[in-house]
């Protein structure tokens, strides 16, 4: 008995992945597999019985204007946001990489919004922008400029841009910190040498900094693509998909459809959403790999 215990103990380290993998299997893989099965049915989420309907849920998606609109919102937000976040984050990082007094404090302030729930930050912006007694309107009144104010969040074509801007404001610090970490890995000697050889600021940024920054760019592009294409909280807080369903992303559309008893259909949309994330991420990875080899 004792020898058996000893033998188990000797091999125990090999099984230390079991608890993590068990959790992952139960709370991630099982629902995922089940979800793919549900996506082929007409299940309403409650009834004990349901029928397999083949791919008709997927076909229905492409015949529903509201669904196509949600796809467009997801792609607009999900492809524009990462570009803006990376560009602004890089500019912020390049600026704060200079030896400036107080840059540590500014870094902390810029990153601060990123640690707070997007839901709450969304509400704070609602407080600033709302048309009843929003702070922006009040401030404009003080300066007699209230004509500048428009109810952007209440205007279908403009609300999504406000959401993009708020999201940029909240998460620019995240992109900045990753770029700063990447910039710290670049030695000052190399840059000094380039300067001696007559390279200007932008030349050295393009020729030396950019290639060395590739890991930071990669992690920024990929995490921001995944986060932005799956956007949920910030839209919930700012417009909840409105006005009408003009800012309804796929994730919000999925939630609504499943609450309305279209569980099979909602799950099918979720499976499609996975492709909507997977394709841009794969393309981005491939492009960056190419850039890596060319550079």
């Amino acid at each position: 008995m004792l020898r058996l215990a000893r033998r188990i103990n000797e091999r125990l380290h090999r099984y230390m992945a079991v608890p993590a993998l068990a959790l992952f299997a139960v709370f991630f893989v099982t629902p995922l597999v089940k979800g793919i099965r549900i996506s082929l049915t007409d299940w309403n989420g409650l009834a004990p019985d349901y029928h397999y309907v083949g791919l008709s849920n997927f076909i229905e998606f492409f015949h529903d204007d509201r669904a196509i609109h949600a796809l467009k919102v997801t792609l607009t937000f999900g492809l524009i946001s990462p570009v803006l976040l990376c560009a602004a984050g890089l500019l912020y990082a390049l600026l704060l990489d200079n030896r400036l007094r107080g840059r540590g404090a500014v870094r902390t302030f810029v990153y601060l919004p990123a640690i707070i729930s997007p839901l709450i930050m969304g509400y704070v912006w609602l407080l600033l922008l709302n048309s009843e007694n929003g702070a922006l309107l009040e401030v404009l009144k003080i300066f007699g400029r209230e004509s500048v104010y428009r109810d952007w969040l209440g205007t279908p074509d403009e609300a999504l841009w406000v959401i993009i801007a708020v999201n940029l404001w909240q998460f620019v610090g995240y992109a900045m910190i990753i770029f700063l970490a990447g910039l710290q890995g670049i030695s000052a000697d190399v840059l000094e040498a380039a300067k001696v050889d007559g390279a200007g600021y932008w030349t050295s940024v393009r020729r030396i900094v950019a290639p060395l920054l590739m890991p930071a760019i990669r992690i920024n592009v990929i995490t921001n693509l995944i986060g932005s294409l799956g956007v949920f909280d910030v839209i919930t807080a700012l417009t909840d998909g409105g006005p009408g369903y003009s800012t309804e992303s796929m994730s919000i559309y999925i939630m609504r459809s499943s609450f309305n008893g279209h569980t099979g259909y909602a799950t099918a949309v979720a499976v499609l959403m996975f492709l909507v994330i997977l394709i841009p991420v794969s393309v981005a990875l491939r492009l960056m790999k190419q850039a890596d080899q060319d550079g």
Binding site: R14, A17, V26, V106, T236, T267
Partner: protein
């Protein structure tokens, strides 16, 4: 030497602008939370000088924020502890036991980070119902911890690969099993990455909304984001109370951030340098 400060002036101006852009919304939050509702921004000339501390108390009472903070703390503590323990062990296996199935499992974990939570929500709901996990702390802890596992395992495995095997092996010579050697000797050496993960996961748990809105529907179990959202959703928008509740509700995250900033930045950027 004389030229430098002049050349840097525009940079300083930009830097101040950046800080203001990030901070002004927080100032407005503070203003709305603390100023009596009878006094407008114009009355006070944008300055925070009238304090109505009762706003905070009223928001606290009405949103049952005390209970929500307790719930969020339980979920945060449980999910952070669980995710760190199981991920450290798994990270060790993936770093040290190089078999074909471990390589596959590791890649599956990495790949899963691409799948957003919302995809699983509907089938998860029936699973949670089946295991009687709706409106319970334990099921939500398991769920949150599972969400943290892929990234935590990834960071642990990377970190453990950088540690030398010799320390573990010499402990084995002294009569330890590798299992004991890992927890007694290597795990304490993982403190930097453990602190990082504690903070990253704690903040994520504190802020979680997309899952808790589904699985914690009873009011006794509401978390901080749910409690705050009630002021915007259920009661029509009551901005003063929302701001007061938000101010209190974000405080723990802000404190964690300021106290552990060093680890936080390290964790966020852990993958950025190595790739």
């Amino acid at each position: 030497m004389r030229k430098t400060p002049l050349a840097k002036t525009p940079l300083y101006a930009l830097m101040i602008l950046m800080a203001l852009v990030s901070l002004i919304p927080f100032y407005m939050l503070l203003f709305t939370a603390l100023t009596p509702s009878s006094i407008s921004l114009a009355d006070s000339r944008l300055l925070l000088r009238h304090f109505e501390w009762g706003n905070l108390a009223a928001a606290w009472r009405e949103s049952k924020l005390g209970g929500a903070m307790t719930n969020s703390s339980i979920l945060m503590g449980g999910s952070v502890l669980l995710s760190v323990l199981v991920s450290a062990g798994a990270g060790y296996v993936f770093a040290r036991v190089n078999t074909w199935y471990n390589r596959i499992l590791f890649n599956v974990l990495l790949f899963s980070m691409m799948i957003p939570g919302v995809i699983n929500t509907v089938p998860l709901y029936s699973l949670m119902k089946a295991i009687h996990g709706i409106n319970t702390h334990w099921a939500m802890i398991l769920l949150l911890a599972t969400g943290f596992i892929p990234q935590s395992v990834f960071l642990y495995a990377n970190f453990i690969r950088g540690l030398s095997r010799e320390i573990e092996e010499s402990a084995v010579i002294d009569g330890c099993t590798l299992f004991e050697a890992f927890w007694r000797i290597s795990f304490p050496l993982l403190l930097p990455i453990t602190s990082t993960l504690i903070i990253l996961n704690a903040i994520a748990a504190w802020n979680n909304y997309a899952q808790s809105v589904f699985f914690l529907q009873s009011q006794e179990l509401q978390t901080v984001p749910l409690a705050i959202s009630r002021f915007v959703q259920t009661y029509g928008a009551d901005y003063t109370k929302m701001a007061s509740a938000a101010l209190i509700g974000m405080l723990p995250a802000v404190i964690i951030y300021f106290v552990f900033q060093r680890f936080f930045v390290k964790g966020i950027s852990a993958g950025a340098v190595k790739g």
